[in-house]
Amino acid sequence: MSFEMIFFILVGALSVGTAVGVVTSRIAVHSALFLLVHFATLAILYVTLNAQFLAAAQIIVYAGGIVILILFVIMLIGSAPLETRAGYRSWVPYAGLALGVVMLAGMALTVLQMPPATINPAANEGGVPIVLGVEIYSQNILLVELAAVLLLVALLGALLLARRPKTEETSIS
């Protein structure tokens, strides 16, 4: 077995193991930690595929941003087990399971229907950010702009939620 193969099996096993840990942990912070390790293993796999830029982006966005926000939220609302909370419905886990199965089926179908992979020449140099940048901002500019609009909508939504009614503030002062 080659070096890459052994490495892939080790990292892949860790990746799957931590992914299972995310959904089986009883404590929310532990789930978040498993998620963190999971993202790190994905980044390592990207590096072995010579996609260093993607690996760095994975760490910056997911490990550096999203998991910290998750931890932040857990600390703000407390990390007691879900079952003990008010408003908890016992059917929620089953609904989640069903949604997961539908999602998995959809992904499986998509993968099966795809034509055999043709390697994009840019993909081989995915580690070089310039190639990736040109690819993203010329071929796929429409998708980038769509994502930007989506983010803007989310931002405005957050602003709207966080805004306090003006009348209350004036009455206090």
Binding site: V29, A56, A63, G64, M75
Partner: protein, 329 residues
Amino acid sequence: MDWLNLIIIPTIRSLVLIVVLLTGFAYLTWYERKLLARFHVRIGPNRAGPRGLLQPIADAVKAVFKEEIIPGHVDKMVYLIAPALALVPALIIWAVIPLGKGFPAVADVPIGFLWILAVAGIESYGVILAGWSSNNNYSLLGALRSSAQMISYELPLGFFLLSILLLAGDFSLVNLVESGRQWWEWLWLWLMFPLFFICILAETNRSPFDLPETENELVAGFQTEYGGIKFALFFMAEYINMITTSAIMATLFFGGYALPFGIGSDFLPILGPFILAGKIIVLLFLFIWVRASLGRPRYDQLMGFAWRTLLPISLVYMIITALLTVFFK
């Protein structure tokens, strides 16, 4: 051969680097205590060895032989992982910092810049998890403050880094040092250095931005429940972070391992690490100077400064840098 190149040589390099950094940490504590003493018109440590030079070793021995106490109310696994998580990012950033001509610390990866951003992003986990796992209100407050502070100051820091990147046009730190800059580029970057340094102070939780551990209101915040060598690990993380960020600033703003005007570029492979170390020591002086001179701001002042002052400035700075890059380079 694969094994030799992929594992053994990087391992040896990393080990040498870690030993040097840990020694550097030990003597940084001595340096800081001596300097603070000077600022306070005191003498500072002077009992252990000549000029107190053996003091760090005495401190290390003391920390190691302290009793290992794990409080009964903590989340044991996270409690034990947190100090390590605080220390590791400070060490692994060094993998991409160039130490001399054609001599990166461990590897010259094409994404050196992003590596710094990525590791800076995961730096706060140690503090956050320590605060949460301690199961103590003061610790939790310290952890919340820390995460909010780090997320906030990462934004302007990221924009400033992006501006440097725009001027350099390359993700590799080795190329950044070797290609040099024009005079107006240096001036334009130095103009931003004080703001960058403020962001770094907040990111490393150094005074005056050490609000996660304010001892007068949070009784040391996230590290309240830690003692012995585990406390020392947090201490180590903070100081090695200072060394690491100084190395980054030296590389980004002051030419890294190179001397100005290309003086002595023939001996650079040997001299490089020493020149870099000299620049790091000067920058460390800045950290300690600030600690000795400034008081802590209030928490809302800290957050307000990040969002209302630094963030807009960094955005404007980045836009002007982009224009300069397009029209003058």
